[in-house]
Amino acid sequence: MSEPWPALGQVAVLVVVLILTVPLLGRHLARVYTSPEHTRVERGVYRVLRVDPDADQHWRTYAVSVLGFSLVGVLALYALGRLQQHLPLSLGNGSLPADGAWNVAVSFVTNTNWQWYSGEAALGHLVQMTGLTVQNFVSAAVGMAVAAAFARGLARDRGRGRVGNFWTDLVRGVLRVLLPLAVVSAVLLVLGGLVQNLLAPRAVATLSGGVQMLTGGPVASQEAIKQLGTNGGGFYNVNSAHPFENPTPLTNLLAIFLMLLVPFAMAWAFGHVVGDRRQGVAVVSVMTLLLVIGVGLLTWAEMAGPGSAPALAGGALEGKEARFGTAGSALFAAVTTGTSTGAVNAMHDSLTAPGGGVAMFLMMLGEIAPGGVGSGLYGMLVLAVLTVFLSGLMVGRTPEYLGKKVGQREMVLVAAYVLATPLVLLTGIAVAITAPAGLAGLQESGPHGLSEALYAVTSASNNNGSGFGGLTSGTPFWNTLLGLCMLLGRFVPMVVVLALAGRFASQQPLPPSTGTLTTHRPLFVTLLAGVAVVVVGLTYVPVLTLGPIVESLS
């Protein structure tokens, strides 16, 4: 087994930095989403958008605003991809094929950032900056806005289905949270050695006498929001394994910290928004518990897992960058799949079979450990509602969460949320492994081949975006299938969550009674984690058995 101290040391540093920063950002986020004041810049934006920032929207209006804004984003990004060769700063790259441009557009608008293409060889600076980076900000802000709306729904007293203003939440999320954090992070990343320029590719002579093209670009600025917004789309094809995008173990740790910061802070902010900080701490605790288990299992699998080659080498080294080591790659893999980021600093296809299985399981949990920016929080809160309902059934208590009664209609919405992503995912994998065009993209056959396809569909349906490798996904079949998975996996749950927010907002909170289940104690934290694993995760056991589990046992 590899030396365990670097693994433990980097986790310790990460924990300390997160403990220091999450409460600060959490308080700031709560102010951002509850303050009635608008800044001068924000008022200017609202005037340009011609929206009333003080209008309190019904959840239906809020949802239609989310959908309309996202549709415009898809169409605009699609046009950029299709017309790239006519645009400046294209670096000589041609336009993307129709299915490829559509996949890119859907991928970045849904905060998935699945990349079928090689970034440095397919996209110019203009598309990277005005298309992808802009969507990195706004798609993240959309997720945060929906989470804020859900928190408001739980906090309000007879709000008549009104959950806030989408445009206000969107603009504030970008201007008050993501943009300032991204600027600071980008400067830190540049100091850490990341590239930041607008130069054309440069030919350099190699030591062996050959010629290599080195592509620069606005890498640090994209890297900052890529991690902060749990986006994950890399400037370079190999993402955070590229030395220009992630040059040192220090930038690797910084990237991991950035992935975790906002999702945890959103959960912390939730406690402030509902007026009971203990609720936020409880949600953070569940997220942490699931993530720690995931990191522990994945690190074990990569450092001391099965296989004679890893045993001889002191760890599974294939597909990993020597500068990060096994521990740095395992931690990154667990965090990127737990947070819905999808950045990679190692080849996930080369993870050990149990390691790859853990990465897939973290995504299959619904991206709640701690999940995407915003999506992690609302995913966990829906499961919290499910947990109080199941607990109520077990002990005969009236199911209520934060004083809001959980009735039949609420449970129908919760069930719809819990079933939506598995339905998309399992339908997607069924189509992928039965269609000849789907099978044609696989590099391997047998359990590992299934894992390649399963990982891709799981990543798309849960809006993660990381690739397993081994799969040739840049084909019309895979681009279209994964694009559909991304769209449905992102927006069906969002609409259901907003409907649930509207129902809770309409209710008058019930005062706590002796029959009320407390939702901030360790017992509830354990129950919620158990529900997440049993109800959500175990949906996928049959397909995991045929893929990574069989491979682990063989």
């Binding site: 239906r60 959908l67 336009s95 559509w102 069906v492 409907a499 309409s506 209710q507």
Partner: protein, 57 residues
Amino acid sequence: MEVVKDAVGACGAGLGIGPVTDLVLLGLTLGVFAALTVLTGFLAARGDDDATSGGGR
């Protein structure tokens, strides 16, 4: 006009499917978002019915 021609040409040459691909994908996108909007309206209507009748809580 040149831009449109290039876009259509690239589509046909790149995929071998023909210039209809852009229209199909545009239709698919609009169809998915239209379905999501219908879902929103359906859930809102059910919620409103429930609020009017006083049922569900």
